[in-house]
């Protein structure tokens, strides 16, 4: 007997998404604004249902779907990000005739990510992955009249397809050698993979496939262009949400299915982590577009999280998992701040160019004090300064790295954190120490609400980390069988 209640969050979201799609046919542009609130309520309901089912540990549909601490943790990450993005998008989509499509796609991509989080079978995982990807391809190109947005979507789509192909290639190798697509099944038969050189190729193919979503160097090159060109709220979704989908998939496949091959992929991830964080931070320094800078910072953050694969102790995994939650809040928050600043610049001057240029942050503390303060907290969290979520996550991750003996890796990561402060602090300097151009502006309410929620998340995890650490530990236990 399948207990469909366990899938209630996904089912609710599916129904809401379909309802919005249907409503879009009949509503005039003026009334479509309400659809954002509907999507928000649907996400909130899904969030409540997921939190309600935290302690569940079951598999469904002949073992292809699993509901456990890990899946619930990541579902909460995805839903939280989508919720924040949805709230902010209520303002972004105001007066747009395609509002219904926007929210439908947003919800579909969320469902896709949630399916990936629960997938216990490679085919289910792939389907979820594609559902999320296809929805976000369209969302990245949501501004049809804006060539930059189109370019962003196209690049994202081309590289995304290539990566999907690589991933499928890897999956087919794994299936060919083990005869199954079920993740626990692969784990049982992985001996054959380990014995053959095919195993190594399969591992690299899968890393490349997931590395695309995670934006690990050298599979990251689409990210800066796409994050910059896409609507800023969608950049937030990509950087904070769909990137994590790559991580949860990689956690399950490498830690559970391919655990036998760990000598191979541990080394691979260690190398990629170092290259990714260093390249991300170094290139971020010379960016003048805040969105691009955040994109590279997001690449660097992926490098930190990838340390969890290289270290692979329960504490490190918990650190990596907690990092995804923290990163979800701080990155979403930072992108939403950029979105508000963009809104401010456009309302100053309709034909403004380079709305994400660093110069627009000058004197932000005077123009929008709340936003400036929030941005300061977000960038400090990203660089890992207490008492923020970023500090707690980095502390756990790096200290577990040192404990496991990979001191060199921890040293590189810490030096990178110091380096990153250069470009993060520069934003703070622009906001607080340079004179303002233009008068005080009040933030549109939806943006303000979303930013305050993200700010609360960052600070609560930073000041009271205990329950979140415990929670991440529970999720990590799923991987350490």
């Amino acid at each position: 007997m399948t207990n469909y209640m366990l899938l209630a969050p996904e089912l609710v979201l599916t129904l809401v998404a379909l309802a919005i799609m249907l409503a879009g046919l009949f509503f005039g542009t003026k009334h479509k604004n309400i659809l954002g609130y509907v999507a928000g309520m649907g996400l909130f309901a899904a969030l409540s249902l997921t939190i309600g089912g935290l302690a569940v540990n079951e598999t469904l549909f002949y073992g292809t779907i699993t509901i456990d601490a890990l899946s619930q943790f990541f579902k909460i990450v995805f839903i939280s990000v989508s919720l924040l993005v949805t709230i902010a998008s209520i303002k972004y989509t105001e007066g747009n005739k395609n509002t219904d499509e926007f929210f439908t796609l947003l919800l579909f991509s969320t469902i896709g990510m949630m399916v990936v989080a629960s997938a216990n079978d490679l085919i289910v995982l792939f389907v979820g992955f594609e559902l999320a990807s296809l929805s976000t391809y369209a969302l990245a190109g949501f501004e049809k009249k804006n060539p930059k947005s189109m370019e962003a979507a196209l690049k994202y789509f081309i590289i995304g397809s290539l990566s999907s192909a690589l991933m499928l290639f890897g999956i087919s190798f794994v299936y060919g050698m083990t005869g199954t697509t079920s993740i626990p099944g692969i784990a049982e038969n992985a001996g054959a993979l380990a014995a053959s050189p095919i195993g190594l190729i399969a591992v690299v193919m899968l890393i490349a496939g997931f590395g695309f979503k995670m934006a690990l160097v050298p599979f990251h090159m689409w990210a800066p262009d796409t994050y910059q060109g896409a609507p800023t709220v969608i950049s937030a979704l990509l950087a904070a949400g769909s990137k994590k989908m790559g991580f949860v998939a990689a956690f399950r496949i490498f830690m559970v299915a391919l655990a036998v091959l760990s000598p191979n992929w541990q080394t691979a991830f260690a190398i990629l982590a170092v290259i990714t964080m260093t390249l991300g931070n170094v290139v971020a320094i010379s960016q003048t577009s805040v969105k691009r800078m955040l994109a590279y910072s997001s690449v660097a953050q992926a490098g930190y999280i990838a340390i969890a694969f290289a270290v692979m102790t329960p504490m490190a995994l918990a650190g990596g998992i907690l990092y995804t939650l923290s990163h979800a809040f701080m990155k979403t928050g930072a992108f939403l701040v950029v979105a508000v600043v963009g809104y401010m610049v456009v309302s100053d001057n309709k034909n403004a160019k380079d709305i994400d240029h660093l110069d627009n942050f000058k004197g932000l503390a005077k123009r929008m004090p709340l936003t400036a303060f929030a941005m300061m907290v977000f960038v400090f969290a990203l660089s890992g300064i207490p008492p923020t979520a970023g500090y707690v996550s980095k502390f756990i991750l790096f200290s577990s790295t040192i404990e496991s003996g990979l001191v060199w890796l921890a040293v590189i990561a810490i030096l990178n954190s110091a380096l990153s402060l250069y470009y993060y602090a520069r934003i703070v300097k622009y906001m607080y120490f340079l004179p303002a151009i233009g008068g005080k502006v009040s933030e549109p309410r939806p943006y303000a609400v979303a930013i305050i929620l993200a700010l609360a998340g960052v600070l609560i995890i930073g000041i009271w980390p205990e329950p979140f650490v415990y929670w991440a530990m529970e999720a990590a236990k799923v991987l350490m069988v």
Binding site: I158, S163, I201, V204, A208, P224, V283
Partner: protein
């Protein structure tokens, strides 16, 4: 519901009051003052109820703790020591807040004032009921911050801004020592457990710290050729923090300047509560001091010397608040002296010292508020411009007289008749006598007695110069409103009667502070570790010794009476720039010259010039080189990002290929 469950509200309510008043106070009645007053009143009620409960059931110590993260916790510990402090701080703070309603009524920034005093009260309450040293330190720092804000409340005045800075920097010296002490303590504990801190206990909790005293005292380090116990280092560093906060020599210099704030702030922070935090810290960690050789003797000497040293300066000040400031320093010295006497009387020292702390809080708050009442009415702080104020402000005069008698310690030994100050100060002097008798070292006793003579002299000088005689200038004052005089009268009752009524009960109550389910230490055992020889069966001092403090008190009164009322001696010959003693005292032993001009401007500034050179030329050079290099690399690498999607795809495929080759090589090497 048991009252203990509300203990967390004691610091929380004033903290909430801070938030509300700070953000919304401006629009409320009288700057939102009623919110902190209400919050502190409730805190006060809870504190007093807990204290009463504890008095009846001494074993029902309140201890609540929640996990914070890693090996740290947040917790509340209310034992007798904390209970009396809580009750005193909330009560005095409440009265001062009420008084401030009148005193600050004309100030445009009063909502900020009430918000800050509420935060200050919350922080101080946090210090008191912390159950671990780290949480105590956090609140301790918050107290320091609030004192900075409040001393510089009138920040437009350059002297106030300077005083705030001075207070902050000076106490910072102590804070750094305190923090160092915590670090040394932690590393010591780490060593005790050989690096494996046990699960489930919080090592910075007082109970755990006290359990580890024997191991810590067995650890030794060699400093400058002396072998010192780790515990001695820790306790002396803690005491360093206390020296800063409680204005002990040589870090007392900030306290007189701190009088730049509103007088209510002086009463709240620099008399009744904040400066007692240092004394409280030593009392709180008293078992550690007991286990550390020589630490208590240092406490005693610093305290005794400060008591004497500050009172000499009190005699020559002309600013009414500065006299009281030096008096505070001197009285805090007494409290430290009392704690130091633990070397012979053990746990009783805490009782004696805390008793003086509580009594002092009442009469010193009263003195400050009376002074504030005078300043509010006369419009000057210079006593040379006052005179005859007693006629127009009778209530202020009478309450001030009571406070002065309490400070000077008037009473009849052997009976229950006397002011609060009499019972507590006498008790301290008696213990110093016991110490002298027992060890043959009379110095602490002499400090105590001479300081008592000077105390009485300066306070009656203040009284005569201010309230008696004829007005020396045309000031035209009035008695203060009821909202100010009622708190004065309440405090006066406490200053007069509290000591006599509670003397016996108080000591018995505090004696069991470190004997309960949460903290259990044996003072005898600790005294052995610290090489202290405890005396039992005190209280058999000769009659002369019991009477001497009172005699010197009366003597001080007589001296002041003759000089400042009867004017039998012409002061102008003494008060002159040619008299070296007067000059020395008036210039406060040239501390300003020594601290600012010599230490700060010559030595520190010189060192910082050298530091600046190294920093700018060498370290910055290296850093700049690294950063320039990094930026250049970034500029180069970013050119790889061409924007052409074909090259991105190439990078992906090339990445896959390279990764396969690389892994193959690594696996084969392994």
């Amino acid at each position: 519901m048991a009252i203990e469950n509300l203990a967390f509200l004691i610091p929380l309510l004033p903290a909430l009051a801070f938030v509300i008043t700070f953000f919304f106070g401006k629009k409320m009645y009288s700057g939102g003052a009623l919110i902190p007053i209400g919050a502190i009143a409730i805190s006060c009620i809870i504190s007093v109820l807990i204290t009463i409960n504890l008095l009846q059931n001494p074993e029902e110590v309140v201890h609540q703790s929640i996990h914070w993260f890693a090996i740290l916790n947040l917790g509340i510990l209310i034992d007798p020591l904390a209970a009396v402090m809580l009750s005193m701080v909330t009560f005095v703070s409440l009265l001062i807040h009420i008084y401030a309603l009148g005193y600050m009524s004309h100030d445009p920034g009063k909502s900020r004032y009430f918000a800050e005093t509420a935060l200050f009260t919350a922080a101080m309450l946090g210090v008191i009921l912390s159950d671990n040293i780290l949480q105590l330190f956090i609140c301790w720092e918050l107290v320091g911050l609030c004192s900075y804000l409040l001393i510089g409340f009138w920040y437009q005045k350059p002297s106030a801004a300077a005083a705030a800075k001075k207070a902050f920097l000076t106490t910072r010296v102590g804070d750094v020592m305190f923090l160092t002490g915590i670090i040394v303590l932690f590393s010591g504990i780490f060593k005790v457990y050989n690096g494996n801190l046990p699960e489930g206990i919080y090592v910075l909790q007082f109970s755990e710290m006290f359990n580890l005293i024997p191991q810590l005292s067995a650890m030794h380090t060699t400093i400058l050729g002396f072998e010192v116990s780790q515990l001695t280092i820790i306790t002396l560093l803690f005491f360093g923090g206390a020296v800063g906060k409680s204005g002990q020599f040589p870090l007392h210099v900030w306290l007189p300047d701190a009088m730049e704030g509103p007088t209510t702030v002086s009463a709240l922070i620099h008399a009744a509560t904040m400066v007692t935090a240092g004394v409280y810290l030593v009392a709180r960690t008293f078992p550690m001091f007991m286990g550390a050789p020589d630490a208590l003797i240092v406490v005693a000497y610093v305290g005794g010397f400060t008591a004497l040293f500050a009172s000499t300066m009190g005699i020559v000040m002309n600013d009414i608040k500065r006299v009281l400031a030096f008096s505070t320093i001197s009285q805090l010295g007494y409290m430290m002296l009392g704690l130091g006497m633990g070397a012979v009387v053990g746990m009783e020292a805490v009782g004696v010292s805390m008793f003086h702390l509580i009594n002092h809080a009442f009469f010193k708050a009263l003195l400050f508020l009376c002074a504030g009442s005078v300043i509010h009415s006369v419009g000057t702080q210079d006593m040379r411009q006052m005179g005859g104020v007693g006629k127009i402000m009778p209530i202020t005069f009478i309450t001030m007289l009571i406070a002065s008698l309490a400070l000077a310690g008037f009473g009849i030994p052997g009976t229950s008749i006397g002011t609060s100050g009499f019972f507590s100060k006498d008790a301290i002097i008696e213990t110093t006598y016991l110490f002298a008798e027992h060890t043959g070292n009379y110095l602490p006793y002499i400090f105590g007695i001479v300081a008592a003579l000077l105390t009485s002299t300066y306070i009656f000088r203040l009284l005569f110069m201010t309230f008696t005689g004829k007005p020396r200038t045309d000031y035209g004052g009035h008695e203060s409103p009821n909202v100010m005089t009622i708190p004065l009268s309440i405090l006066a009752v406490f200053a007069l009667l509290f000591g006599g009524i509670t003397k016996k009960a108080f000591n018995d109550f505090l004696e069991v502070t470190f004997e309960n389910d949460f903290v259990h230490v044996s003072m005898e055992h600790l005294a052995e570790l610290g090489n202290y020889d405890l005396v039992h069966g005190a209280g058999h001092e000769p009659l002369f010794i019991l009477w001497l403090p009172v005699i010197v008190g009366v003597a001080g009164l007589v001296i002041s009476y003759l000089i400042y009322y009867k004017k039998v001696v012409d002061m102008s010959t003494i008060v002159s720039r040619n008299n070296p003693v007067y000059k020395l005292l008036y210039n406060r032993y040239y501390q300003h010259q020594i601290f600012i001009e010599l230490i700060a401007l010559k030595i520190t500034y010189g060192l910082s010039l050298i530091g600046e050179f190294i920093d700018r030329k060498i370290i910055d050079g290296i850093i700049d080189g690294i950063s320039d290099g990094t930026i250049a690399i970034g500029e180069t690498i970013r050119k790889v990002q061409t924007g052409v999607v074909q090259s991105y795809a190439t990078a992906v495929i090339a990445g896959v290929g390279l990764l396969i080759i690389l892994l193959k090589l690594i696996v084969e090497v392994q």
